[in-house]
């Protein structure tokens, strides 16, 4: 019987911190989840990941910040939105995961095995620089950064042969304008993040003796 159940989860706290912060950042309401696991049934990557979506939601509900922000699952998610679409409680799980990715990256806690944040960074740098994505440049940049030079070596010649990999790169005018746009977006998000981020973690401030809930 126990083999069918999700692994036990250490409960530090119910609700509060992480669930509120996720809600503030993404509008998703993880506290509404009643663990039916319909999200995990339809998730294309749940069976190969360290957590399933409904387990991740539970960990957010129980405020397990460290385990959530270092979870490989948040980077294994393909953003297919099957979970969000099927959730009977309208929990926007995909939106929650986007918020967790952002928080994980800011806390420099991203799971070490994932190359996704590096890819995202190269992708967005290219958008800022050129306005559009030049696929050959994107692939080369990613390979150099992750030192995966020999992966998929057959694909570039195949794509060239099929006319699917133009060698000239697009460039849209207005780079200064884009630099300013990216700068303002980062500054505004940082400001909003500072307003929602809770005070320093409990470890750095002694817990008041009256707080019988903490161990």
């Amino acid at each position: 019987m126990t083999g069918l159940m999700a692994p036990p989860i250490e409960i530090e706290n119910i609700g509060g911190g992480l669930a509120d912060e996720v809600h503030e950042r993404s509008g998703a309401s993880p506290m509404r989840c009643y663990q039916c696991a319909k999200c995990s049934s339809g998730c294309p990557v749940a069976d190969g990941a360290d957590r399933k979506p409904h387990e991740l939601v539970r960990m957010v509900q129980t405020d397990q910040r460290q385990a959530v922000l270092t979870s490989r699952f948040i980077w294994a998610c393909t953003s297919c939105h099957t979970c969000t679409t099927r959730c009977p409680q309208q929990v926007d799980i995909a939106g929650m995961i986007d918020a967790l990715r952002e928080m994980s990256r800011r806390a420099a806690a991203a799971a070490p095995a994932t190359a996704v944040p590096v890819f995202n960074e190269i992708f967005l740098d290219a958008v800022r620089e050129r306005g559009r994505i030049f696929e050959l440049g994107l692939m080369l940049g990613f390979k150099l950064r992750t030192r995966r030079l020999f992966e998929d070596v057959d694909k570039a010649p195949m794509m060239l042969l099929k006319g699917k990999l133009p060698l000239s790169s697009p460039r849209v005018a207005g780079k200064d304008e884009r630099d300013a746009l990216f700068g303002r977006a980062a500054a505004t998000t940082l400001e909003a993040g500072a307003a929602t981020t809770p005070a320093p973690p409990a470890a750095t401030t002694p817990a008041p003796p009256a707080d019988g809930g903490s161990k």
Binding site: G48, C80, T82, D98, E102, T114, N120, M159, G163, P166
Partner: protein
């Protein structure tokens, strides 16, 4: 009929064949698609997994330049990002103000965005599409594959039934083909994991191709550059890794419609397909 076209980055790169076949079909239907001037990348998954404000600002910058005219999109990922930004901005005044600050001009989130499937299937309509058919795709069994981002989340895209969409099926049926009932129309292909971890795409693509094959498909029809690329370019790798034999051509739906409307194979860039469709089309007597 005229729509402002937002082609997106892939249509000038790996999906040039989608671009070309879209314009060929548009010409047959009297559909004009002038390109939005100086459009920029929608930000794709990279933006929405990094910074929600940037993810709304990039589409807002392009959409605000469309002057309110309806924007036509071919790529499912662009479609999703443009519609998501509209959804957010139109219903949240505070967010609208933040986006206006970031972009440098106000945008109300109300520029209509339509996918080509919606324009062909609903605005132009099946009757006019039927009238343009010259060489019906008789006997061609097609698995219409929609992927994730056209249909989900439905309150954002409002595209079709999110579990069993039929818009592409209806168009291809109008073109004389036999669209199949099959359960993997909206399963995920792994998307940009094609670059970051291709083993994900091989596993998810295998599930889709297995199901299409089991349903008796001759070929697959797609409406998204990444879906097409993953199922076509990596099909041989899937065959090798999992000991399968598919040989399933993966078309853009515009290529199939174009064939039925009498376009030449080169107008549709059929030779860009990695799994060559020549044998299949010859066997069915299509395209001659």
């Amino acid at each position: 009929m005229t729509y402002t076209f937002f082609p997106g980055c892939s249509l000038d790169g790996a999906a040039k064949d989608y671009h070309r076949s879209t314009l060929a079909v548009a010409a047959k239907l009297g559909l004009e698609l002038p390109e939005l001037k100086d459009w920029i990348c929608c930000g794709s998954t990279a933006a929405h997994s990094t910074d929600p404000l940037l993810a709304d600002a990039l589409p807002a910058k392009s959409l605000s330049a469309a002057g309110g005219s309806t924007v036509a999109v071919a790529c499912a990922a662009c479609y999703s990002r443009l519609k998501t930004a509209n959804h957010h901005i139109a219903q949240d005044a505070a967010l609208r103000a933040r986006v206006a600050h970031v972009v440098g001009r106000d945008y109300d989130g109300r520029t209509p965005v339509l996918h080509l499937l919606e324009i062909l299937g609903r605005d132009i309509g099946l009757a006019r599409v039927a009238a343009a058919i010259r060489r019906p795709l008789a006997g061609l069994k097609v698995a219409c594959y929609y992927g994730c981002l056209l249909v989900r989340p439905p309150e954002v895209t409002n595209f079709d039934d999110p579990e069993n969409p039929t818009l592409m099926d209806q168009l291809l049926q109008t073109a004389g083909a036999e669209p199949l009932a099959w359960p993997h129309k909206t399963e995920c292909c792994g998307a940009s994991f094609s670059i970051t971890d291709s083993s994900v795409v091989l596993e998810l693509g295998k599930r889709i191709l297995d199901m299409a094959q089991a349903a008796g498909a001759d070929c697959i029809s797609t409406a998204c550059p990444l879906c097409q690329l993953n199922l076509d370019m990596r099909q041989k790798d899937m065959e090798r890794r999992f000991g399968r034999r598919y040989r399933l051509p993966v078309f853009y739906f515009t290529q199939l419609l174009g064939l039925a409307m009498g376009c030449r194979p080169d107008e549709l860039s059929l030779d860009s397909l990695v799994v060559g469709p020549g044998e299949l089309l010859a066997a069915k007597g299509i395209g001659r």
